[in-house]
Amino acid sequence: MDDLFTPVAAPRPDMLTVSFESWEGPLDLLLALARTQKVDLREISILALTEQYLAYIDGARQLKLELAADYLVMAAWLAYLKSALLLPKEAQPEPSPEELALRLQLRLQRLHAMREAGARLMARDRIGRDVFVRAKPEGLRLVRRAKWDASLFDMLQAYGQVKARTQPVIHRVAVRPVMTLDEAIQRVGALVGAALDWTRIESFLPSGLDAPMAKSAMASSFVAALELARQGRLDIRQEGIFEPIFLRAATPAEERERLL
């Protein structure tokens, strides 16, 4: 399939028809030059290739062609590689020029392999060029039809929900066990008379209450204590925030004055 993959005309070193637009970068040019050595890419002489490339670039310069930077970078690198390869072995820098040369050779082999693979791929029997499928197939159609699934229970439940949702709503407050404020005032008032010394408020609550009732009793007893204190019937003391609350019977006014 030469029409699809036109191999780049291999340049002859003696014929400098230089056109850098036809090369896709220095590696491409190097590969084309390597192929003029007419040997397996594994056998090419990198030194010879380097000289070919440098001569090519030189020719281009004499023709005052503008050269892309990457061609010049490659030329500089190859000039370095060439001098390194010519150095006596002990004076060779790291990495060794042999390794650099081998690396270049491996890269050229890989590019060449892919170029050939691409050409072979393009040469296969391709749909629309070599083999043909039907121009206007009728097409297969898959029509999906929903099969609705619902049970009688689902429907009744839905109806029940509609009814429940739209029925007038009657709010009813549940009766919860509480200690009323009156109860608490009576209870605390009666008990505080017996307590001459400071006594924790908890001691004024009935024992054996369940949790909600205990809370209610505490709340009511506290409010009762405040009310009784306002009436001057008891004193309240708390050392600090969240500290225990103590109650005791109020000191008669004349005694308080005596103490003061």
């Binding site: 999906r144 609705w148 009744l156 839905a158 929900q161 509609v162 949702r165």
Partner: protein, 197 residues
Amino acid sequence: MTQEPDDFLRAVEAALFVTEEPLTLADLRLHVGEGGDLPGALATLEQHYAGRGVNLVERGGRWHFQTAADLAHILRREREENRKLSRAAMETLAIIAYHEPVSRAEIEAIRGVQVAKGTLDVLMEAGWVRPAGRREVPGRPLIYVTTVEFLSHFGLSSRRDLPGMDDLRAAGLLDPVDLALEGLNAQSAVENDEEEA
């Protein structure tokens, strides 16, 4: 009987296969050239494809391949997919069943929510609901009733078989708190299913 088809026959076969339009003998000649026994090749091909899934046929002097008539169902295959009715559709269906004939406005009044256009369509597509004329009130709204398929799908012999309000209450289906909870659970179950799907 089976013999290797010659290249002329193969060319005719390939040309008929790729063509956009049925081909006359003249059309075919443009492809396969002047040599060869074209009518003979067509007759051989016609016979070769007879009784197969694809047949070679001649219509008004034009030849083309077509699939065998008895295989039409293969080309347009219908597949049933089970789908669950949405809650809105379920409620709408129940309201129609209990209150029929009802208009859309009446359904909305009972549901307390608007009824989307698609909801009634789904129920009609399922074959459970059909329009049954118009109510003679201003605006002449369409009214809807359930169908015989509705009764058979839900295993009812008549609408009188639908449980009454007392039955629903006894079954706990009218209890607001339980229902609300159930509803929430059912909803999250559906959402989970969708996530998994």
